[in-house]
């Protein structure tokens, strides 16, 4: 199992993702600086959270122009798995590897708290196939721009195709996301973007260990 983590100026969850992947995969992930132009053959690439390039212009928009992105797209076209967490999700949106947009939270506040997520019935994918649809898990969020937007046509398509991986529990949509969406899959199910942080939920001193369960199941699925 070979995993890698993309690092941009302003990434700040790369170390936590490294620890989480190392615990679940028993191997040290590769850290890949954004100026690299090639990515070795990896089973999973994670784009961590943070504030890449200060989130100027739009969150993730400048990172999406980095040299490494062409190599990321090549990895994706080979069917490689990619997970984008928080700012990583925003970067995947800006690279168009995932559909829709992420705009400012409805209440205009940076929200940092634990939320309940409901796993959805999806197309086959390595990220949530090990989780029963309808399962409630708890993960923390920490973002200012996590309000998922798609027009009604795209929302219907995502719902119909089973491309929505996670929804916030309907009573606690924290940011105004359309259809309570917290995580979205690509059409082929090999790319997942999610606002919640599974890497902040892996040990006993975190409130929940659901993030560890998520990474364990993901790596199991990838090992197939």
């Amino acid at each position: 199992m070979r995993t890698g983590i993309l690092v941009f100026p302003g990434s700040n969850c790369d170390r936590d993702v490294l620890v989480a992947l190392q615990i679940s995969s028993k191997k040290k992930p590769l850290r890949i600086w954004h100026k690299e132009t090639e990515i070795p053959n990896l089973d999973l690439i994670v784009i961590p959270g943070g504030f890449s390039f200060g989130d100027y212009l739009r969150c993730g928009s400048i990172a999406a122009q980095s040299p490494i992105i062409n190599a990321l797209k090549d990895h994706s076209s080979r069917g490689g798995a990619i997970l984008g967490i928080c700012n990583g999700f925003q970067i995947l949106i800006e690279t168009k590897l995932l559909p829709g947009a992420l705009i400012t939270n409805l209440n205009l506040k940076f929200i940092c708290k634990e939320v309940s997520l409901i796993t959805q019935k999806t197309i086959k994918n390595p990220f949530t196939s090990g989780l029963k649809p309808g399962l409630k898990i708890k993960l923390p969020i920490a973002h200012n721009d996590g309000n998922y937007f798609a027009n009604s046509e795209l929302l219907n398509k995502l719902e119909g195709n089973g491309q929505i991986a996670f929804k916030y529990h309907q009573s606690e949509n924290p940011n105004g996301s359309k259809n309570n969406i917290a995580g979205v899959l690509s059409e082929n199910g090999r790319v997942l973007g999610m606002m919640p942080h599974p890497e902040r939920s892996i040990t006993t001193f975190h409130d929940s260990k659901d993030g560890k369960m998520f990474f364990d199941l993901l790596l199991d699925q990838l090992l197939g």
């Binding site: 212009l57 739009r58 928009s61 400048i62 122009q65 800006e94 829709g100 947009a101 705009i103 400012t104 939270n105 409805l106 209440n107 205009l108 309000n147 937007f149 798609a150 027009n151 105004g176």
Partner: protein, 82 residues
Amino acid sequence: MNVIINIFPKKEVLSPEAEAVKKSLSNLGFDNIEKLSLGKQITMTINEKSEKNVQKLASQMCEKLLVNSIIEDYKITILREN
């Protein structure tokens, strides 16, 4: 040649910032505002004399980086030098 690019949210996108500004103006007594849109303005000077080329370059910049067409529209205005 000087160029102004105005970027604004699409009509169907509810802009939380615009709503907050509208509410704040309303609190100040300006309560007859029907619509308020909050966008970005980018100004630049491009070393290029042909208006057609400037228009083309500015459009490319918008498509490639400056604008997210899912949530935003844009308008390019070229200022003729005096």
